[in-house]
Every structure is written in structure tokens, then in C-alpha cells.
Amino acid sequence: MRCPSCGLVQFEGPRCKQCGAETPASPPERSLPPVNLYDQQATNRRKTGIVIALFLLLVLLLGVGFDRLILVGAPSFWPAGPGASRGVAFPVATVIALGVGSLSAWLGYRHGDRFVLASCRAVPLAPTDLQGRQLDNVVEEMSIASGLPKPKVYVVQDSDPNAFATGRDPVHASIAVTQGLLAIMNRDELQGVIAHEISHIRNYDTRVMTVTASLLGAVLLLHDWSARTGPWRDRDSHDGRGHGAGQLLVFILWVVLIALAPLLGQLIAMSVSRNREYLADASGAELTRNPMGLAGALRKLQAATAPTHSVSRGTAPLCICDPLGRAVDERRGLWADLLATHPPMSERIRILEAMAYAGS
């Protein structure tokens, strides 16, 4: 524990030993699941597959629903379909949705890092000034410590401090930090942040998260598209065509699904992102052998509550702290746990400081 008034790190007690200030009661210990690096890498490879499968399923359902409910019986512009005479047109929307879905899954896997970097207008670091040299050096140091090739370094022109890593494997990895981060961190803290990001790369977190981020973007796109072309906008298209009770049920389900698609995508994205923050903190501290560096950085990030504007909703799970500046981040409980992309900052700082104590 760290004394709130004098900053002395010490065992917990009702009072600080140095200045006598009351130390706040610490939150109850939370046991973390035992994880090791190789388990984590295997889990991440599997999770990438699950995310892509779920996404394709979602897209397939959206497409089939569109075919069954919107295009059924419509004057078929697909002349040669075998079912055209019965009013069952070629499943246009299904095929399109599946095609678009597979394409975006593949693109997300191959080039997701570029989308993510482009979406926040990250520019490659030109290490000319002292600050730039320092960032470049710190990344080099951390890649040496982890034994990985040095990732590409990018800078985002945003005054809010944040950082993220992306790329499908360590060879194709990039790290991006904001101008704001460079401005407020000292060398040790910057090192802690970079070590955290390098750990994400080493654990293959970036693969899951980059694929998830780009697929989430695609889901949002599909959602907008179907919401605009759906029957609730264009009533004429199905007026006067009687729906059976069964078809009505399917229709309702489909509407609900479309309405919930972004939320579902978000939930998938969050569930893959939170636990790994703890692990990246821990293995980052193992790289620098200095947990207080990252703890100090997290403290500064916690203080800077302004949202990072240049980072989009899909990229949120990649960042070191929640770029949306959501208040929910600091609460605990089921609801907060479900919606937050990141574990509570105070919890992460507490664990790191406990580590610093145990290590010294």
C-alpha cells in the first residue's frame, strides 16, 4: 500500500508509519486466475477463431433474415433462380452479407493494424528531437528485454495520453502513443507503458483485439446499412403481404438481432479484452523489473479523464486506458464488469504496487 499523504510504501495498517495519516481500507483481495504465457498465447489463437466464427454467424443471420423477410416475393430482379416462380428469390442478401463478412474478417486479420492506425491518423515516428529519440530508444530497450523484433512506432496527434499496440503477430506489430502521453510521462513511466504494450504483442493479445476491432467496425457498418434499408423505413415493400405467425416471430427476432448487433459485438470485444490487461501489466512489470514505473504511468492516466477523441469506439479495447473516459471504468460490479473494456484503474495500480513491494 502507498500512504496517500506522504507516499511511503509500506505494509497495510490503520495508520501510516511515517506521517501518521489514516490509510484507507484497501479493497478485498481479488484472486486472479493463474495464467502463464504459453496458455495465454494458445487461448488467444483460439479466441481469434471464435470471434471470427461468431461474427460470421451474426452476419449470416442478418443476411438470411434480410432475404427471408424483405426480398421474399418482391418482384424478383434475379431472373433465373429455380425458386423465382414461387417467389423465393436467390438469397442475394445472404450471399452479399457472407461475402462482405468473410472479406472483412480476412482483411481484419491481414491488414487490421493498418485500419486501426489509419483510423486514428497515426504517423510513423521520426526520431529527430529528444522526445522522439527517447520513445524510439525505450521501444528498442523493451524489444530487447522481450526478445521480440522491434515493432514499428507511431505517434497520434492527440493531447490526451493514451497508447495502443496492434498487429497480427510480433513480426507485424506496431505501437502507437499519443502526443499527450509523451508530454506527461517521464522515462520510467514511458518504459512501463511500452512494456505493457510489448506484452500485449508477445501474448498475441493484439491479434484478437485487432481482428475484433476491425470486425466490430464491420458490424456497426452492417447495422447502419440494414437499419436504413429495413422494412421500418420502407413500409410499402411488405404491405399487403400477410405474414404467418411463424414468420412474424422470425421477423421480430431479426429486428431484435439487428438492434442488438452493435451491443453484442461490443460485449464480445469487451470480454476478450479485460482480463488480459492485468496480465499485460504483470508481464510488462516482469520485463522492466520496475512495477512502479507503470504504476506511476497509470496514476497519471487516471488523472487525465478527458476522452481521447482520435480513437474510435472499435479501437477502444486496444488502448492502455479506456479512451472513451467512461465513468463506469472506476466502478466494480456486474454491470461495470460487463461494459468496461478495462479493469478499474485503481485495482491495476494496487496490484502493481503490491508487486513492487514483494519484489523489493
Binding site: F11, Q18, N137, Y357
Partner: protein, 185 residues
């Protein structure tokens, strides 16, 4: 029947020997690579030091002693061979450099020179890189040595020409650590 059993066992042993041998070879190469990484960083340090000394020489005329000690330690470190010898010489060099950095704090002129700041950043980074490369190297050496020493690999490691690798220990320069109260109560 007995014949085939013997053949089967012999094949299993052969496969085990091959797998173990290849595993050890892989680790040995990794250890060598890691050592080269340290070497690269040590060389970088040796190259940077004369630049720094030249940059601060004018302002620090009264610290000739310290500067000469840095140069001398650099010379010894640059000509050292093998992990053990290098470790001693590099440890001395680290100490001399730490003294120089501490003394530089007394010269505000140096703090405002962009060139000196840049050199100081590069040297700080190099010190860190050496530290991290050493950390990585030592972790690998530990894995390599343990693999040779566990049963049953220890039966054949020496016979196949594998020897334990040497750790690279540098005497740690004093690090600024957070104040920690260690009294237990």
C-alpha cells in the same frame, strides 16, 4: 516378437535422442544470439563514450580525473574477451560513467546543451539495453543449463558436446529505488 520389441525400444530411444539433441542445439543458438545482442550494445556504448567525453570536456575541465577514468575503463572494456572478463571491465565502466553523470549535475551549462542531452539520452538507453539484453541472456542461459542438468538429459548432454553456458553478471550500479518500510509489525 522379442526382436520387434527390442527394435521398437531402440527406435524410441533414437527418437528421444534426436529430439533432445535438436532442442539443445536450438537453445544453444538462442544463447549465442542473445550474447551477440549484448555485444552489439556494449560496442554501441564504447562508440558513444568518446563523443560524450568530447562534448563535456570543455565545461568540465576540473573533472579531468573522472574523464580520464572513464576513457581508461572504456579502453579496458573494449579489449575484454569472453563473458567473464567483459563482465568485470563493463562493471568498472558502468561505475565510472555513473560518477560522470552525477558530476554533470553540477554543470547547468551542460543541461542546456541539446547535444549533451541527446548524448546522455543515448547512453542512458544503451545502459538500459545492456541491462535488458543481459536479463534476456541470463534467462536463456538458465533454461539452457537446466535443460542439460535434468534427468535423463544429463546422461547424454556432455557426451554430445554440450557444456553449461556462463552467466553474465555485472555489479549493479546503485539504483534509485522507491523508499520501502521493511519493519514488520
Amino acid at each position: 516378437m522379442a526382436f520387434w520389441t527390442i527394435v521398437g525400444i531402440a527406435l524410441l530411444i533414437l527418437v528421444w535422442v534426436i529430439v533432445t539433441y535438436n532442442g539443445l542445439i536450438g537453445l544453444r543458438n538462442q544463447v549465442q544470439n542473445a550474447w551477440q545482442q549484448i555485444d552489439v550494445q556494449l560496442k554501441r556504448r564504447h562508440d558513444l563514450i568518446p563523443n560524450l567525453v568530447n562534448a563535456v570536456k570543455g565545461a568540465m575541465q576540473f573533472e579531468r580525473d573522472t574523464l580520464e577514468r572513464v576513457i581508461a575503463a572504456r579502453g579496458r572494456a573494449a579489449s575484454a574477451r569472453g563473458p567473464q572478463e567483459a563482465a568485470v571491465a563493463e562493471g568498472e565502466l558502468s561505475g565510472a560513467l555513473a560518477r560522470l553523470f552525477a558530476l554533470m549535475e553540477n554543470y547547468p551549462d551542460l543541461k542546456s546543451s541539446q547535444n549533451v542531452l541527446q548524448l546522455q539520452e543515448e547512453l542512458t538507453s544503451t545502459e538500459n539495453r545492456i541491462g535488458f539484453a543481459r536479463q534476456f541472456y541470463n534467462d536463456l542461459v538458465a533454461r539452457y543449463n537446466i535443460k542439460q542438468q535434468v534427468f535423463p538429459t544429463n546422461l547424454m548432454a556432455a557426451g554430445l558436446g554440450f557444456a553449461p553456458a556462463t552467466y553474465f553478471h555485472i555489479e549493479e550500479a546503485e539504483k534509485a529505488a522507491p523508499r520501502v518500510d521493511l519493519s514488520l509489525n
